[in-house]
């Protein structure tokens, strides 16, 4: 184990990472938010979705440092007397759950499809790429919203699926592009020449050499999926009202903003922004590390 850690410490990747204070800060922010989400039931002073624990007498309390603020409501309460801090912890659980699921499912699905499309080419490749073009020209937000809005059922799984349905495309395109160049490399030709099966060639030689750009896509996509879930929930077609979501908190708090109750929106908004911004910073750094050529976008 120690050996392993020492090995990691010597890699270029790690050294570059430590030298980049921004990327490190971003990772720390994400870790804190992730731990907060993971241990929400332990940390949160209140379970905001347990109706028995809510007291309307405590509704719309300001944050604790302001006049009228009460312990234990650190960041104040919403109209139903929910502790904002607790709701944010629970809401970011949803964000992480959706983000991770979308990235994993889209990554495997899109990565797999793109890998085979790129390696084998032919009609399958054409169909996949045309589908990808089509899906890309419509917006993910629009597609997910229409699906969820038209079927009128909402659950966290449906939200994930509605995002994945258009999200796998970018993984497919990215890896396909890589595969197209990798498959002309000599080691791939060698594997084919000594009679390796197509599957063996694809998984042992092509995949390991074309997978790294997917990391960059995944980091950006993580943030986009979280933003998309928040947007869908904000519009009322995402997570059901009985479950926590940062987007829904903002949507519900919006009406009280005009009355000066800024904390209903400010803290969930800040959390959402910190999360997505940190993810984008990390993806930016990853991009520079993995492929200095595409430093720009």
């Amino acid at each position: 184990m120690l050996n392993k850690i020492n090995q990691i410490r010597k890699t270029k990747f790690f050294i570059h990472f430590i030298k980049k204070p921004i990327a490190v800060t971003a990772l720390i922010v994400i870790s804190i938010l992730f731990l907060g989400a993971l241990f929400a039931p332990v940390i949160a002073p209140q379970n905001p979705y347990d109706m028995d624990k809510l007291d309307l007498a405590n509704s719309l309390l300001p944050p604790i440092w302001m006049e009228g603020g009460q312990s234990p409501y650190l960041l104040g309460t919403d109209v139903q007397g929910r502790d904002i801090f607790s709701t944010i912890l629970y809401g970011s659980r949803t964000s992480f759950l959706v983000g991770i699921s979308v990235v994993v499912i889209s990554g495997l699905l899109g990565g797999g499809i793109g890998l085979f499309a790129g390696y084998f080419g032919g009609i399958f490749d054409t169909v996949v790429m045309r589908t990808a073009d089509t899906v890309l020209s419509f917006s993910k937000t629009l597609i997910a919203m229409l699906l969820l809005g038209v079927f009128r059922h909402s659950s966290i799984i449906l939200v994930i699926l509605a995002i994945v349905i258009s999200d796998w495309v970018q993984y497919a395109r990215t890896i396909r592009g890589e595969v197209l160049s990798v498959k002309e490399e000599e080691y791939v030709l060698a594997s084919q020449a000594i009679g390796g099966t197509s599957l063996r060639t694809v998984f042992k030689h092509v995949l390991p050499n074309s997978v790294s750009p997917l990391l960059v896509v995944a980091a950006v996509d993580f943030g986009i999926a979280i933003m998309l879930e928040a947007t869908l929930s904000f519009l009322g077609v995402g997570i059901p009202v009985t479950q926590p979501s940062l987007g829904m908190m903002i949507s519900q708090g919006r009406n009280y903003l005009y009355a000066g109750k800024w904390w209903l929106i400010f803290f969930p908004g800040l959390t959402l922004m910190a999360l997505v911004f940190s993810l984008n910073l990390i993806s930016d750094w990853l991009r520079d590390e993995i492929d200095p050529k595409v430093k720009n976008i």
């Binding site: 809005g149 904000f234 720009n296």
Partner: protein, 321 residues
């Protein structure tokens, strides 16, 4: 060239057919059109009549064919809720949406590209570094949060901007209600257009910068410098022209994204556009409106894509068709 354009148009038509098929399914099979149109208390005979009138008794492909035929003639059926022809409903709302989208896009393109050029020309400048981080923040902020933030700052705290609506409009050419011809209209469009355009601007800024940096390293740029050309001339005449190709493609491709985000923006600012109509129709299960919206958006997006492909081929002679 002709074959290339032909193939692109053909692909566009295939996409439209696919989308129309999805729209047809939404239209015909989601919700219960018979119940909605005949009313809850209709007799068996009345229901049969409505079924017959809607053609629900015919074979599936006949129904789809009829749907297409009607769509071609601009007949998309009646809204379940308002009982008005759907197409009129959407066309009435479309100018508001298009004006918002165009102003947002114009703002994004002008600011995004000029900032991108500035940063690529002065990469070490403090302002450039600030802009780079700022643009990352720009693509990290969800549209709805930006909108709410702007309303809070400019409308509630400062009180200098209206919170919602389109303001005073003028009707031109008998059907287009425009808000761009009045001062009040412009006052109303600024916040929503900024909200909608910010993400695009940040994106275009980053792409322009990237494309410029790549082009600025090319041989012909070094030649241009070596010839002793002025900085402005090299930057705009030689570099920007070539850097613009990916940017223009992105502008065209991102228009679909813009439509998606415009629904969010319209909802926040209560903008009387087609996106807001779509949202309300979804809440009310008014499926004909949803189906028609899908088709119209697809039509706009596909046409734009074909145009982008064609202009791309014209701009870049290296592209083989």
């Amino acid at each position: 060239m002709g074959a290339f354009i032909g193939r692109r148009i053909l692909q566009g038509i295939i996409v439209l057919l696919l989308v129309s098929f999805i729209a047809f399914i939404i239209f015909q099979y989601l919700g219960d059109p018979v119940m909605t149109l005949a009313g809850r208390y209709a007799t068996q005979a009345q229901r049969a009549e409505v079924r017959e009138a809607l053609g629900l008794n015919k074979a599936f492909y006949v129904q789809y064919f009829n749907f297409l035929k009607n769509a071609f003639q601009g007949n998309f059926g009646m809204s379940y809720v308002t009982k008005v022809p759907v197409l009129n409903l959407i066309l009435e709302r479309l100018p508001a949406s298009l004006e918002l989208a165009i102003v947002a896009e114009a703002f994004a393109v002008i600011l995004g590209i000029s900032l991108g050029v500035f940063v690529s020309a002065n990469p070490k400048n403090f302002a450039s570094k600030f802009l780079m981080t700022g643009s990352l923040l720009g693509i990290s902020l969800p549209t709805f949060l930006v909108g709410i933030l702007l309303i809070y700052i400019f409308s509630i705290i400062l009180g200098i901007m209206p919170t919602s609506g389109r303001g005073e409009t003028v009707t031109i050419l008998n059907f287009w209600r425009s808000g761009l011809l009045t001062f009040d209209g412009w006052r109303h469009i600024i916040l929503p257009a900024f909200t909608l355009g910010m993400f695009q601007m940040a994106l275009l800024f980053r792409i322009t910068r990237g494309a410029m940096l790549e082009v600025l390293g090319a041989e012909y740029i070094r030649t241009a410098w070596a010839k002793g050309l002025k900085g402005k001339s090299v930057l705009f005449k030689h570099a920007l022209r070539n850097a613009l190709i990916p940017v223009i493609t992105m502008v065209g491709l991102q228009f679909g994204q813009l439509i998606g985000f415009s629904i969010v923006t319209e909802s926040i600012f209560q903008w009387p556009g087609a996106g807001n109509l779509l949202l309300n129709s979804m809440y009310e299960s008014d499926f004909p409106v949803v189906a028609t919206y899908v088709i119209i958006v697809a039509l706009i997006v596909v046409m734009l894509n074909v145009l982008v492909d064609i202009s791309y081929a014209f701009l870049n002679p290296k592209i083989r068709y």
